[in-house]
Subunit: 304 residues, 2 copies
């Protein structure tokens, strides 16, 4: 019988790990993806992490890990003619998905319904779910007191601000997308992927019913996004320090306090190991640039 | 002092003529463009005649007269992945305009406001106005009794149906776009371009205030879209016959009954000439594939 795995995931790191899980035979994978970074761009519904997940599972992701491989940028460049801010680069192939999604949602479909059509369009077998069909928006309050939407913080300001506080606007009213709780409850194991804990995973857990389902699940693992104490990409290490979670493995454990039983850290981050705050820390290589490395990590974790 | 000219226009033919008017020195041109063919496509606001007008005035129109020159179709092709009907071919450069317009209208701007930004983006000096900011939709009732939206009739069914009746849904409630009446009232001459009279010009005139402004204007000319009794493109001749307007020059005069003082017909359509039903018929070459021919026709008409 297939092993049922649910992964909670942000963008690139979590998507690469999902590709590994998906490559393991006899795994029935459901990914629950962060929607805290979703935002309208040029009037189109853009959901960065869901799209990165879909493209990565389809093996069509761009060289940076997001967007589509071998994409062109004809539309994006042309938007400049109208004085539009087009610094957030959207490729033409990528825009087709955005246009399709926006049209369907404009016609009344929910994000999860459209995501399922998208999944089908890319021939993906794994179940891909947004954490919620309701708006949950990550708001970064900087040390200087500015309240920035995620894209303003991450893309425009290149995550150079120190973070004082994170809010997940709308999370108090948000319900899990259909299938999320059922998938978690029936999963043999839940794995929090190697994503940014505060910025990518907390917005998922901010949906109270999801957090409750994770808390009651008997087997929840996480993969640390740190390698040698630093993030492979993005500002997870800095943000965790800014938020008072500390540094290194301890920061990740603190970010997931009360939620996980086991944390996988990279071999270079072996200290501390064993039991830390009730969490079993296991080290192995967590560098997963390709499908094979990710599948190997997934197999080793499943063996645990 | 500049000669103020208002042209009422549909798509390709009227746009080519506008390019000629625009090339004549000392002409202050305002084009009032049909919006009866507007329709949402992939959730985007598509207004075929306005876009053809803008592209043609900018000298960037596609080889068929519509769309953009040297466009690519990456987005349109990719939409097929999601099972979307993508037979209505939208190019990537063309989509940038559609995306821009849809975003602005989604943010509350009116079609005429966005059109002015678009005009500016293309460096067009002439004033480009939609007939109305309110929805006016051309509905074709076929002899078989089907009610078809314009694109269904024109694009999907390739205008092969015989037309029993035309309706312009919404026209009874539609107001002229800001500036339309002022432009007509202050124009030295109004010219109805070589567009399909029932399908492209009637939806403009269906806005009662526009028709009234045309009726009270002392100098209204029209250019017949027929050459040798046939339309250069599209089904104007067939539609006029279907609607009982007759054939050739007489059909065009009948379509514009009570509205025009002078009709310019192609040299090959010299009969009837002189006064016909109170309209002075003048023949000259109306074949305007290029800017120069169009400018020459414009100059000759201005000389009248």
């Amino acid at each position: 019988m297939a092993l049922r795995i649910v992964e909670l995931s942000g963008g690139v790191g979590g998507a690469r790990f999902a590709r590994g899980l998906d490559a393991v035979s006899d795994v029935e994978l459901t990914v629950v993806v962060n929607v805290g970074d979703d935002l309208p761009t040029h009037g189109l519904y853009v959901t960065p992490d869901l799209d990165t997940m879909v493209y990565t599972l389809a093996g069509l992701e761009g060289p940076q890990g997001w967007g589509r491989a071998a994409d062109s940028f004809v539309v994006n460049a042309e938007l400049a003619r109208f004085g539009v801010d087009n610094r957030f680069q959207l490729g033409d192939l990528d825009l087709a998905l955005k246009i399709f999604r926006t049209a369907r949602m404009g016609a009344g479909q929910r994000l999860s319904e459209v995501t399922d059509s998208v999944r089908t369009g890319f021939g993906i077998v794994a179940t891909v779910l947004p954490a919620s069909d309701d708006p949950v928006r990550t708001i970064v309050t900087t040390r200087e007191g500015a309240r920035l939407g995620f894209q303003a913080y991450f893309v425009e300001r290149q995550h150079r601000d120190h973070v004082l506080r994170l809010d997940f606007d709308g999370a108090d009213l948000a319900r899990p997308a259909p299938g999320v709780i059922e998938a978690i409850d029936s999963a043999d194991v839940v794995i929090i992927g190697p994503s940014n804990p505060p910025l990518s995973i907390w917005p998922i857990l901010a949906v109270a019913e999801i957090e409750a389902a994770i808390r009651r699940h008997p087997r929840v693992m996480a993969v640390s996004p740190l390698i040698g104490g630093k993030t492979v990409r993005g500002p997870a290490d800095v943000v965790m320090a800014d938020l008072g979670l500390g540094t290194g493995t301890r920061a990740v454990i603190a970010a997931y306090r009360g939620l996980i039983d086991l944390l996988v850290v990279d071999s270079g981050d072996a200290e501390p190991s064993g039991e830390v705050d009730g969490v079993t820390v296991v080290s192995m290589s967590t560098s997963i640039p390709g499908r094979e490395e990710a599948a190997e990590l997934a197999r080793r974790m499943i063996a645990l």
